[in-house]
Symmetry: none
Subunit: 221 residues, 2 copies
DNA sequence: ATATACATTGCGGAAATCCACAAAGACTTG
DNA sequence: CAAGTCTTTGTGGATTTCCGCAATGTATAT
């Protein structure tokens, strides 16, 4: 089993929860950090001492408080650590279940496991740790579809962008101009209308207002 | 100290975290439920056995899974329990920090404490439990502004109703018909337009979409 | 009773949206 | 290359929203 593990997670309740479970596994040393910057520093020090962490378990979102931080999200932390420690095993432990996000983490950042926080996530997390230790990959059932190539009607970054702009109060016409200015295509008013219309069907929304309300409820934007 | 407490929280990691801390307080019996319906059932049984819970600690959001649920949120659970057990002490423990939401919970549902999940929330939670046991109220620093009188505005239930209907996808015309059917006045298309226009000014929104997006961000709906 | 203020309603036109259809371009496949 | 498919863009028109102005209604104070 792993001999040195780092946990990055801001919430103290989750931390104690994870800690009590991990202590049942036979892991030598378990450290934890409540800020991404702290996690980065601890990892740096460990490398300097020639005793680098073998596994990182990290959340994605960290609430901001008075302390100014360079790294503000788990994703940034992952990128930073991957630079200097490419063979570090990484498990993401988060409530997020957006396929697009998981896909990016697995494909681009080469994370080893993604566990969705939920009713039985602690058991899942221990499973994931075992799998990763054996060099295998693990994805929660909920997001396992992220890697299946059959992602037909999938909402992509472009769609999210449209929804974001809409929710920021831009008219469809203004969105077209904005996209043209940033040379993002498609950018005609007509195409934007068509995309939104597709999204409305997908989300069973009566109109643009309904669409944004639903997207917000789903945490999509 | 309390002798019988119920925790409603879906995440198992948080549950163990909360549990380990609560076990340090001298609380007789601590039960927990991972579904709102279960919490409701447990409370019902406890009342039937003449040993009702004295305190409920509940989350607000519960992720949906395969199990069909009548009560899908902590707020619904609170309303349900308040009906039959008006003297039950209630602490809400959630990541949400929307002032309007907290205000509603305190004013309408008469909750006794609101603790924001965060880096030091377990300590806060124990403080809150002690305060509530002494008949006092507790609000996390982050949301304490919810009760300051200067924050209240001229947004009334009618306005909230409009925003809700809008976010449900009704057109302004349909809203007018709906209000007429339920004999809520004013209900003319013109009046509805005017109200929404006021709200847009108040919330600095460019259009109805923007308005709903802002209202959702503020936890108003 | 009259004046005043304010809320409600109606109306009209400009702007934005929704929607169906068509033309042009891009890509795949045989 | 040719045919077929899909995406992007364009167009026209019905519907809805947006906004200003006017008319009516209602309550309050003098």
């Amino acid at each position: 089993m792993f001999t040195k593990v780092l946990i990055a997670e801001d919430m103290d309740d989750i931390n104690t929860g994870v800690l009590t479970v991990l202590s049942k596994l036979e892991i030598g040393k378990i450290d934890h950090a409540q800020y991404c910057d702290d996690a980065d520093l601890k990892a740096k020090k460990a490398r300097k001492d020639k005793k680098p962490y073998e596994l990182l378990i990290t959340d994605l979102s960290f609430v901001k408080d008075h302390r100014e931080q360079k790294l503000s999200s788990g994703e940034e932390l992952i990128v930073k650590l991957r630079e200097t420690q490419p063979n570090l095993k990484i498990i993401v432990y988060s409530v997020e279940d957006k396929l697009q996000l998981v896909r990016r983490l697995v494909m681009e950042h080469k994370i080893d496991a993604y566990v969705c926080k939920g009713r039985k996530s602690l058991q899942e997390l221990t499973n994931a740790i075992k799998k990763v230790f054996n060099g295998e990959q693990y994805l929660s059932q909920k997001v396992s579809a992220a890697l299946s190539p059959k992602n037909d009607m999938e909402i992509d970054d472009y769609d999210i962008g449209l929804l974001r702009l809409l929710s920021k109060g831009l008219s469809q016409d203004e969105i077209a101009k904005d996209l043209k200015k940033r040379s993002i295509s498609p950018n005609s008013l007509s195409s934007i209308e068509k995309r939104l219309s597709k999204l409305k069907i997908y989300f069973k929304a009566n109109n643009a207002i309904h669409l944004i309300a639903n997207a917000k409820d789903l945490g999509l934007i």
